[in-house]
């Protein structure tokens, strides 16, 4: 009698342990794989080319939420830096870099350095830069829109600029 109770408790323990393991591992697996696609805009101002960039493996204590945040930061830094110099692509003004990225819900808020304001005048560069950034971040599962700041402050439009930047940008804006 006592033996069967021990066996029952042991079995129960195993079932609970397996269920907990399945639950925990299922919950902590991020949908992000080992690559992300960084997009850049070609000189026609409309074509987006995907540039695959390897993403470091998910760390054991990295939750899916944190991993998305990290991937968004990495993707934004890559998109703003642009592809290697030999690739013909529309690039952000020299020196522009990402200060921070904050993912809230399905929006990624990107804080850029002030160099982004030194646009050379035309709308082509402005369009290509932001389109590439938006495509890169909205290519991550769970991110649908991108809002932009400069030096921590919300940006309405670039000085002498053309683009509407005071609302979250989506792929459907182009």
């Amino acid at each position: 009698m006592r033996n069967s109770r021990i066996v029952f408790l042991a079995l129960l323990f195993i079932v609970v342990a397996v269920a907990a393991w399945v639950f925990l591992t299922a919950r902590s697996k991020s949908p992000l794989g080992d690559h992300i696609s960084v997009y850049y805009t070609k000189y026609d101002g409309t074509s987006e080319v995907a540039w695959p960039v390897s993403l470091r493996p998910q760390a054991r204590d990295e939750t899916p939420g944190e991993r998305l945040q990290n991937a968004a930061l990495y993707g934004a830094v890559q998109a703003v830096a642009g592809p290697p110099p030999t690739v013909e692509a529309i690039r952000f003004p020299a020196g522009t870099h990402v200060r921070a990225v904050r993912v809230t819900g399905s929006n990624a808020d990107v804080d850029l350095s002030p160099e982004v304001k030194s646009q050379s005048g035309g709308s082509l560069g402005e369009t290509g830069e932001f389109k590439g950034l938006v495509w890169t971040l909205t290519g991550l599962p769970g991110i649908a829109s991108v809002s932009v700041r400069v030096d921590g402050r919300r940006l309405d439009a670039l000085p002498g600029g053309h683009l509407e930047l005071d609302k979250p940008l989506r792929r459907s804006d182009w």
Partner: protein
């Protein structure tokens, strides 16, 4: 405290030995000085795991707290130790970072000399090649010998950890030999290019003084190949994913998000794809040359935009993913390195492309047939905008006053846009329209040195407050180099596409001599916020020599004004008096 020497200048940095690396704090003043001298920007925030550095090249160096792996551009490696955080400071493997940005630390007389290491990249195309050399310091190549098929360049102040001999046999280069001499503080690197018979080399201008470029034109035909002289294996590189030869669809996952129904198709290998939209709201994409390694699917969906999903192998060498849509829904097709993501939007769209194609894998790309060739699935939505002044057209000469817009050789965008707008006004008035310009002189429309948004909103207000029939914004484009050129018509609101089409048709048939860059939807402030049909025309590129010559001709400015006026007439017909209603 150690003295670090960069290009002969000393910087005091708190860096201590740690194993065969050195440790440095991210906020160390000397370290920050060094990064700023090298033009490297840092991205890290409290609580963040990733610490990212961007070089001016650009190359991104990625570290993560607690992870010994680092990424430098496309190469991954093992750092001397995993970065860690203590007391609010982040400690990094200093030597690993230095090597990743192209400097070899050399101890000499108690100081750490940062010796810039030259990188050599060879890109060959057929019988020609481009050699791009790069260093973390200014790089000047001197041709010191040239005999037969050997040419030798000397670079002072840089060292090399590259392999001594690199056999290339492509693009006119047989071999490259690299030798380092000189001292630790004054290194010299000589690079010998052994060219193929009949090949010749010429120096090319570089965009910055850290690069040195040679163009090689090969003599005899050689097999096409590409080669890269990679740095000699510095800390054990991690294997990166190698391309697979078999293309397979390995998984198909579907999910409903707040934007729509998304399907993630995981594809291993490089593949091309082609998608089609049928008139009965069926939509499918074929991934060519692929085998289905995931289970086939044929299931009913209850998503707002999708009622069924099918995944199956067709004709032996294609995998088809087919959707039945609930109506004319836009389907985004986003190829990536490892597959394809589809998003069927919840909302209807009225102008949809009927096909498109692209590629998955390295350099994934997607193009859709232009929307003008798309199918109209339903009549344009009933116009809710009723102009209170149907005879009035508002023209918006871009920029003005404190904002000159694009500039080149005495010509500025603000002057050209006003010139074209005034010519356009005269033409429209003759045809019976009333015309108002958002500015008639060289002024800011809102106020001098106003914010960009105030300025753009002020232009929108002119049109919205007058209840105008149409809004046309005139601009001149520009770019950082002279390649892009041509004329583009932009719109944002779906219902404005007809106006864009009418005007653009006239622009392209007027023999303006500019390239047709098409009709493009864009998030431009003035076309987003205007209540009436609105377009923005980028007439030509100041930065392109051909377009620049045209922009200097008053006859050309008159021709483009006439083309715009003709397009407006095509779209809006003859002006109608107030109260007589609109189309």
């Amino acid at each position: 405290m150690s003295q670090v020497v960069l290009e002969g200048q000393r910087i005091a940095i708190h860096a201590g030995a740690q194993g065969n690396d050195a440790v440095v704090g991210l906020h160390d003043v000397g370290f920050k000085t060094l990064l700023s001298r090298l033009g490297i920007s840092t991205t890290w925030g409290a609580g963040e795991r990733y610490i990212l550095f961007t070089t001016p090249e650009p190359k991104i160096i990625s570290f993560a707290l607690g992870d010994v792996r680092y990424d430098a551009g496309e190469v991954s490696g093992q750092a001397g130790f995993a970065p860690y955080e203590r007391g609010g400071e982040v400690y990094l493997p200093f030597y690993t970072l230095l090597r990743a940005v192209g400097f070899e630390p050399k101890i000499d007389g108690g100081e750490t000399i940062l010796q810039s290491q030259v990188e050599v990249d060879i890109q060959s195309r057929g019988q020609a090649a481009r050699v791009l050399m790069h260093a973390g310091v200014p790089l000047a190549g001197r041709l010191i010998a040239s005999s037969g098929n050997r040419i030798v360049y000397q670079f002072d102040g840089v060292g090399s950890t590259l392999e001594r001999t690199r056999r290339v046999h492509a693009g006119g280069i047989d071999e490259i030999r690299i030798e380092q001499s000189g001292s630790v503080r004054a290194p010299v690197t000589r690079v010998t290019f052994v060219l193929s018979d009949g090949a010749n080399a010429s120096e090319m201008p570089s965009e910055n003084n850290h690069d040195f470029q040679l163009a090689i034109n090969g003599g005899r035909g050689r097999q096409v190949a590409a080669a890269t002289a990679a740095p000699a294996p510095s800390p054990s590189p991690v294997e990166t994913a190698s391309p697979k030869s078999v293309v397979a669809v390995t998984a198909v996952d579907a999910a409903q998000s707040q934007d729509g129904f998304s399907v993630r198709i995981a594809v291993s290998g490089n593949a091309s794809f082609e998608w089609h939209r049928l008139l009965d709201n069926r939509w499918y994409v074929d991934i060519h040359g692929a085998t289905l390694q995931a289970p086939p699917r044929d299931e009913t969906q209850t998503a707002p935009s999708v009622t069924s999903l099918r995944v199956h192998q067709v004709s032996g060498d294609s995998v088809r993913v087919a959707l039945t849509l609930t109506g004319p829904k836009l389907v985004d097709v986003n190829p990536g390195a490892d597959g394809l993501t589809l998003l069927a939007h919840n909302e209807d769209d009225d102008m949809l492309a009927r096909s498109g194609s692209g590629s998955i894998g390295g350099n994934a790309v997607a193009t859709a047939a232009p929307t003008s060739e798309g199918w109209k699935f339903k009549p344009a939505p009933a116009k809710t905008y009723v102009p209170t002044n149907p005879r009035l057209i508002v023209l918006d000469p871009g920029h003005g006053g404190s904002d000159a817009g694009a500039q080149r050789g005495g010509l500025s965008e603000k002057t050209l846009t006003l010139d074209i707008s005034q010519r356009l006004r005269a033409l429209l008035i003759v045809r019976g329209w009333q015309v108002q310009l958002t500015r008639t002189t060289d002024i800011d429309v809102y106020a001098p040195n106003d914010s960009a948004k105030e300025e753009l909103q002020a232009r929108v207000d002119v049109a919205n407050n007058t209840g105008a029939r149409l809004f046309v914004s005139v601009h001149v484009n520009s770019f950082v180099n002279d390649a892009p050129n041509g004329t583009t018509t932009y719109y944002y609101k779906t219902e404005d596409r007809q106006l864009a089409q009418a005007v653009h048709d006239r622009l392209t048939s007027a023999n303006l001599g500019t390239k047709d860059d098409g009709i493009i939807k864009n998030n431009f402030y003035v076309v987003v916020h205007t209540a009436m049909p609105a377009i923005l025309i980028e007439t030509a590129f100041l930065s392109n020599p051909n377009d620049f010559a045209l922009l200097q001709s008053s006859a050309w400015l008159q021709r483009i004004a006439k083309a715009i006026a003709d397009g407006i007439g095509e779209y809006a017909g003859a002006p109608v008096a107030a109260g007589s209603g609109q189309r």
